[in-house]
Amino acid sequence: MSNIAPELPPPGLEHIPEGGAVGPVQSGWRLAVREFAQNKLAVLGVAALIFFVLFCYLGPLVYHGGLTSDLTATNVPPSIGHPLGTDNQGFDVLEELMVGGRAALEIGFFSALIGMVWGAIWGAVSGLAGGLLDGFLMRIVDVLLSIPFLFVVLIVAVRYGASVLGLSIIIGIFTWQVPARLVRGEVLTLRVRDFVSAARAAGSGRLRLINRHLLPNSLGVIIVTATFSVADAILAVATLGFLGFGLQYPNFDWGDMLNNGVTYLQDGYWWQVYPVGICIIVVVMACNLLGDALRDALDVRLRRR
C-alpha cells in the first residue's frame, strides 16, 4: 500500500486558521517540560543522577585508589591516600563505589529499556487486537505479575551466575508487565479517538497505527514507569549482592560491598557500610523523585490533551 503522509497540510494553508489568528500554540510536551523545570525536587533528582553518572564513568579515569588486592593495607580507615578507607581485601572503597555504581546504573537502565520496549509493544498489540488475543496476552501478564520476581532473579542467579547482561535480561523479563498493562489501557482509550479513526480512514495499517499514533501518545506513561523500574532494578541488584549471589570479582557491586562490610559491623568499620548504603539510597531516591515529577508534568500534558 502506498503511504500518503496525511499529517502534512497542503503548502500555503497552515498560516490561515479558520477562526482568525491565534496566539502561539503551546504543545503539550513543552508545557510538561516547563512544569518539570519548575519542580525543585525534580531538578534535584536529575542533578543527583547526572552526578552519579559522572562519578561512576569519569571518576575512575581521574581517581586511582587501587582496585587490586593489597593484603598489607586491609581495613584502613579513611585517610589521605584512601578518602573512604579500604575493605578487607585492601580495595579502595571510593574507587570500588565508582566501579560498582556502573553495574547498578547499567542494569537499571538496560532492564528498564527491555521492559519498556517489550511492554509497550505487548500492550499496544493487546489493546488494539481486543477479543480473545487480548484476553490471552493479558492472562500471561497476570501470571508473570503474580510470581514474586526477586525469587526468580535469585534462582536464576544461583543457577547461571550473575552478569550485567544476564541480570538486565532477567529483571527486564519481570519489568514489562506493568507498562504493558498501562499502555493497553492508554490504547483502549486512544483507539476510539478521532485522530485514530482519521488515520484509519486514511488507510493506515495496524503497524503504522501503533508506531505513529498509539505508542507516541502513550510515551508519557512509558517514561514514568521506566524511571520507577530503574529504581526497582537497582534495589533488586543490591539485594542480590547483599545476599551473596550478585556480580563476582572482577565486577564490583554495591550490594556485595555491603555484604562484605557487614561482617565488620561490630568492629566499627563504618566506611565499609555507610557510604555504599547512602549511594544506593540517593540513586534510588533520585529515580523516584524523577518519576514523581514526570508523572506530575505528564498530568499537565494530559489535561491539555
Binding site: 503474580s146 520476581f149 526477586l150 525469587f151 534462582i155 547483599f242 555491603l258 559491623l265 548504603g277
Partner: protein, 315 residues
C-alpha cells in the same frame, strides 16, 4: 454479585494454571532431574539414564507436567533430596513463624498508616506533613537490608536493648513471648511497609477530601470528627484494600531478606539456605506458593472491595 464472583474466581484459577506451567518449565530447564542428587556426583551416565527412565524423567514434557500437576493437586510440593525431606513437611514446620512475622507486621503497618495518612492529608503542606513525607520517601528508597543493619547497629550493638538475632527456638509460644528478639524484625518491617502504605493513604485521603460529599457534610454542620470518621475514613480506605492484596509479594520478599539478616527460622530463611545449597525443589516450590498467595490475595482484595464499595458491583 454471584456472577462476578464466579468470573473472578475462574480467572484466578486460569492464572494459577499459568503459574504452574511457568514454574514447571523453570524446574524443567534448571533442574531437569534429581538423579545427580540421588545417585551422587560421580554416578555414570547409564545409571543416571536408567534412574531417569525408572522415575519418568525422560517422558515427554507434557506427561511430566501432568504428573507434576497431579502431585501438586494432591498437596505434594516436591522432594528435597539434599535435606531428604518432602518440601511440604519443611514448609509445615516453618510457615506459622513466617505468617506470625508477616501478619503482625501487616496489621501494625495498616493500623498506623491510616491515622498517619489522614493526618497528613488534613495538615497538607505543613511541617508535620513534610517531615512524614520526607522520612517515608527516604525509607521507601532504602534497601531493606540496609535498614535492618542500621537498626541492629544502633539498637543491638551500640545500645544493647534488643537482640541482633531473631528467636532461635522452635516453639511458637516462646517466639511470641521473646520480645527482645522479635522487636527489631517486627518494627523494621512495619516501618518499611508503613512508608509505602502511608503515602497511598495520604493521596487517597487527599482525593477523598476534595469530593463534594465532604463539602456537603461540612456545610450541613457535621462536626469535623464525624466528617473524618464517617465520610473520609470509609472512602479513603477503599484503595488500601487493593494495596494490601497487592503487597503480598512484597511481604514475602521482605520476609526473605529480613529472615536472612535476623536469622529468623521461617520460610524466608529456608529459601535463603536453599539458595546456598542450590536446592531447586525448595526454591521453586516456595516461588509457586508465593505466586499462589499473591493470586489469592488479589482475589480476596477484589472481592472485599466489591463488598465494601457497592458502586463497583456494576463491573
Amino acid at each position: 454479585m454471584t456472577a462476578y464472583l464466579i468470573r473472578r474466581a475462574a480467572s484466578a484459577i486460569v492464572v494459577l494454571f499459568g503459574v504452574s506451567i511457568f514454574i514447571f518449565f523453570m524446574l524443567h530447564v534448571i533442574y531437569p532431574t534429581p538423579a545427580i542428587d540421588v545417585l551422587g556426583p560421580h554416578a555414570n551416565k547409564f545409571s543416571i539414564a536408567q534412574w531417569n527412565a525408572q522415575h519418568g524423567f525422560d517422558d515427554p514434557w507434557i506427561v511430566q507436567y501432568l504428573h507434576y500437576l497431579n502431585q501438586l493437586l494432591h498437596g505434594n510440593l516436591g522432594y528435597s533430596y539434599k535435606l531428604n525431606q518432602s518440601v511440604a513437611s519443611l514448609f509445615q514446620e516453618r510457615w506459622l513463624r513466617s505468617a506470625y512475622l508477616s501478619g503482625v507486621t501487616l496489621i501494625l503497618s495498616v493500623v498506623i498508616a491510616i491515622p498517619v495518612g489522614i493526618y497528613q492529608a488534613i495538615r497538607r503542606n505543613t511541617v508535620g506533613d513534610a517531615v512524614v513525607t520526607t522520612s517515608a520517601f527516604v525509607t521507601y528508597a532504602m534497601p531493606d537490608f540496609f535498614f535492618y543493619l542500621i537498626a541492629i547497629q544502633v539498637f543491638a550493638i551500640t545500645i544493647p536493648i534488643f537482640s541482633y538475632e531473631g528467636p532461635q527456638t522452635t516453639s511458637m509460644w516462646s517466639i511470641i513471648t521473646d520480645w527482645r528478639a522479635m522487636t527489631l524484625p517486627i518494627v523494621c518491617l512495619t516501618l518499611l511497609d508503613l512508608a509505602g502504605y502511608s503515602r497511598y493513604m495520604r493521596s487517597a485521603a487527599i482525593d477523598t477530601l476534595a469530593q463534594d460529599y465532604i463539602k456537603a457534610a461540612r456545610a450541613k454542620g457535621l462536626p469535623e470528627r464525624l466528617v473524618l470518621w464517617r465520610h473520609l475514613l470509609r472512602n479513603a480506605f477503599l484503595p488500601m484494600i487493593t494495596l494490601i492484596g497487592l503487597s503480598i509479594p512484597a511481604l514475602l520478599a521482605g520476609n526473605l531478606v529480613c529472615e536472612a539478616v535476623f536469622n529468623f527460622p521461617g520460610l524466608g530463611l529456608l529459601f535463603y539456605d536453599a539458595l546456598g545449597t542450590a536446592d531447586y525443589p525448595i526454591l521453586l516450590a516456595y516461588t509457586l506458593v508465593g505466586a499462589a498467595l499473591t493470586i489469592a490475595g488479589n482475589f480476596v482484595a477484589d472481592v472485599s472491595l466489591t463488598v465494601a464499595d457497592p458502586r463497583i458491583r456494576l463491573v
